[in-house]
Symmetry: D2
Subunit: 336 residues, 4 copies
């Protein structure tokens, strides 16, 4: 049994972490910090947690003491908090972008921030780095778009089947966070599709970093906001260097993700859909169709707040502490 803290628990990722931790059989106490909501029951911010006996507490990060801390803090804020936790031998899963990059220059360029405290961290994609995560004290939880895009692209890269991937992603609005903005205003994003950060989204270099480890592949990435609450549907368009069949490609994916409990490779006649993964930690990957120009389409579906954030963070915790990888995450999607 472990004690768990969430720093910055009042956002959507905080709410989702609490949803899973609540029923986690290896978790003893939960501490949820928030400056703004100190003393308030968590259900006043996260209404689905109604009945949960837990209040936000305004504890400064240096005073937080537990076996693991989830830093659900903004980019740029985590780097001020994480080093002290690590020094005090507390395991950390950081949900910001601060520790995702091997090359600090890339981080500083794309996030337009100076990194004050680089540390060794493991990129928290368990399907790839499970062994390293087991021994890590700092795990950098992947971004939401990268999770769907990388899982859909890696087998193609590893098999040297492609040189370039063009990733066209469609994200639900919860990906923009709990704070209202012009982009999340219902009359703007309802009944609409909004492309944004067309060529310069900071998830691009994160995808590029991971894909490049498996092959010499260039990444192009464009995200869109769609009138959906949760979910990212990623359409990967790329051109095959060799003349292979859909069946062959499916076999490559089957092999690559064998015994990965949260990746489901679909049959050739199935298409991933958001409702199949809504609220769950699954990443569904499918399609593998090849057109007359040698373009292959691979499609993935995840819940951006679960496999794209908090569910994956719990999966990382489970691996770090030797728990069952599926503990507290063994729930299916909400369809319809």
């Amino acid at each position: 049994m472990i004690d768990v803290s969430i720093i910055g628990a009042s956002g959507y990722t905080g709410g989702e972490l609490l949803r899973f931790l609540k029923n986690h059989s290896n978790v003893n106490t939960i501490t949820a910090t928030s400056r703004q909501y100190n003393g308030i029951n968590v259900s006043k911010v996260h209404p689905h947690l109604r009945g949960m006996d837990l209040k936000f507490r305004d504890i400064s990060p240096e005073k937080v003491d537990s076996d693991i801390v989830f830093t659900a803090t903004p980019h740029g804020a985590s780097m001020d908090i994480v080093p002290n936790l690590i020094e005090r031998d507390i395991n950390v899963v950081d949900l910001s972008g601060d520790y995702r990059f091997d090359d600090i220059d890339i981080y500083e360029k794309w996030y337009n921030l100076k990194h004050s405290a680089p540390l060794n961290a493991v990129y928290g994609l368990p399907e790839i780095y499970k062994d390293k995560i087991k021994d890590a004290n700092l795990v950098a939880n992947p971004g939401c778009f990268p999770t769907g895009a990388i899982l859909a692209s890696l087998p193609l890269a590893k098999e040297k089947l492609v040189e370039t991937v063009i990733i066209d992603s469609k994200s639900g609005v919860s990906g923009a966070g709990i704070k209202p903005t012009e982009a999340t205003h219902y009359p703007n994003c309802g009944d609409n599709v909004i492309p944004y950060a067309i060529i310069n989204h900071r998830h691009m270099p994160e995808i590029q970093q991971e894909v490049a480890k498996f092959g010499d592949v260039k990444v192009s990435f464009t995200p869109h906001l769609v009138p959906v609450i949760r979910g990212i549907l990623t359409t990967v368009h790329t051109f095959l260097k060799e003349d292979v069949t859909s069946d062959y490609v499916k076999e490559v994916y089957d092999g690559f993700y064998e015994s990965k409990p949260f990746v489901r490779i679909l049959d050739l006649d199935e298409i991933p859909r958001l409702s199949a993964v809504r609220g769950s930690n699954y990443c569904d990957i499918g399609c593998f169709q090849i057109d007359q120009n040698g373009r292959i389409v691979v499609i993935s579906a995840i819940d951006n707040l679960v496999k794209g954030a908090s569910g994956q963070a719990i999966q990382n915790m489970n691996i770090m502490f030797g728990f069952d990888e599926k503990e507290a995450l063994d729930i299916v999607g909400l369809h319809p």
Copy 2:
């Protein structure tokens, strides 16, 4: 040909006024004021107006000079602006709540504001007050909920058929305005129905004021936000004092709204729907069904930004200046 100004043209009602004024055959110049967007083309805020050659201008209200001014200003701000315009013999259609109340005490209580400058104004519901509007120099444009609720309730009140109306309204999110808030945040209002201001919405006393002029009827009112961009569907539940038929009630409505160009009374087998009025100035009224308890249901549908705001304001302008009541408004809804 007249010159028209909009004070506060950067909100949704401003955008809609421009949509109608753009094609109005009696309008000469249009002035659109905005402090925030001075010098910017209107299409940068109202993207549907792309191609319209008009810039926002930061002109103080006392400097605005035209034949008519629409004050699309917040409650409490209009009262600081309107008296000076009226003094300068400029006609005004005020879209705020500041001039809608016969009894200033009721305004001050429900709006929690001190009224600094009461004036004689005509309540701008043309189906009822067309003759007064013709001669008015200040028209108080009705609220969006009151427009749908009053038009659906008046014939029952006038015929002394009921003592109480229970109004359950469902509004699209654009009714909350152009500014993002927690309530308009897509993950909050999408896939949801949000009752609000359950018993104390300030449109209640406005509905009460107008219905009471036609009969001794008590008004209860509860609004809900639904995941819709435009439109208000109003369900009026009330109990008949006499044993009448649906046919009879429909005849009452047919008579009451005879020759009112923007009210359409539906056949008994039809139900009002938002898409039939979307983008248009129509108010569709129908249903008239009576249940085993003597409860009758009357339903109205309007576009909250058109008949519930800017379209009605143009209709009032048309009447004030002796133009065809339908000028610039003769467009049907957008279905589907």
Copy 3:
């Protein structure tokens, strides 16, 4: 450990039953019947169940053998199936309307069907009839609208506080079932609110039957379809016979639902919201505000497919077999 069958498992209620049964610690084998999909894996119809090793089977009801059968069959079909199951000492939870009525005449009038096989059944609302359900072999699972409406109305009726309830319900589209119709066509119900069966929905007499047992209260009911996938938000408007306070009414509700694990009475400053119960078996009840006319508003929120159907059916099964009432249902809502 029990064996469970679902007759008619290819609809939404079938899919939801499987979602809960999958993780139920007292369930041994599951049989899912479907004529249309015989031999097909359940996940081809219910994509969220991907990975579940279960195929639909075309077994005739008389051949189904298990400890309990859920009849997820249409109104009129259950009466042909249930008697044989009961004769064979199989417990039944029927999700149709066929066994919900004490008075067969009312059933036959409102469902426009001849009832060929009346049986003694317990109305499966565990908050009211838990003791009877314990001993029942046939439980009639309540309708979705009645569940939200009855739970919101009963305390008022029992305390003799009101004479009439006017129920205005807003339902998600999944309530219309898995089969596409004109009403569920996205361009029709998206961006729209559709009142239907204004005074003659067959859930009205079901609500009336149950409320009348607690007090002499007349029921008026009007449902609306809103652009929401899951959830029913019920607004109960009614007039108080006595001058009581919101605090008092809340106390009445607190007392009535004490130790009912799936009803949550909200604080006076909270409003029920669909996302707080989405995917869960909770019914949230709140508001209790009283207006100047003595009208009180009570609002409830449920997930129509869970507390309004399959979750409640599992809750009934748990009670019938002496399992923990919350087994397999101890999951919170999906917010946002």
Copy 4:
């Protein structure tokens, strides 16, 4: 003044044709045919037309007599109807795919139909073929996806800037027509993104045919259904063969579409949005951003039922008869 007929007027394209024809100053009588709804007022099917005095009539195509006929008939049905109309010297705008292809083999392969009656037709994209349309008696109105995709791609093809275009389109559900299907069922397409016909949509060869006329460019195309009623947002991903700037590309587009009244080229800091064109005949094109891999993104937005179908058909009619190209179409989008 001309007389106009619509064969198959009960679908969405029929409803939109009527919306524009209603206010067209050069149109005398309108005939709307429908077998199913013979004798019924058009507003019973198209509720936004409430108040329009027009009934569907069951007239066989050979009996239809007017100056122009819009055949809003299914693929495969138009070829049985159009030849007789042309023989009788009636101008035709065909909204099906039957006359869009130069090469009948391609039509027969992709539509899986035998073409019984090929005729000379002009492809009705006025921005390209205006001169030919002037003299045509048969215009094949383009498909909805092709309209957005071709207009976004042609300038790149003509300038020989690219070799391949990868078109990722997101369509509103009205594109699937008025008939309910599993794909248009709200619980399926709401809160979801559904890729379909991934590599074999029959609009692909139509796009390919037109793009190839301007340059040796290969087309890949994948459509998605998004929870939107109207609109197609097309994201064109392609790789530049030369090192040019965004400014240069914008100039190319500005030049290509100079004096085309319904194409608006956006400033570099603007992104096309569906609400800016909703209900209108505009096609907005913008973005022109170039990433580190030399990929350029061009985005277009249209209303699939207007510029993608009925609005374009009216535009074609206007050109065929020498009317003002904008007659009846000079309306802006509905934002928000």
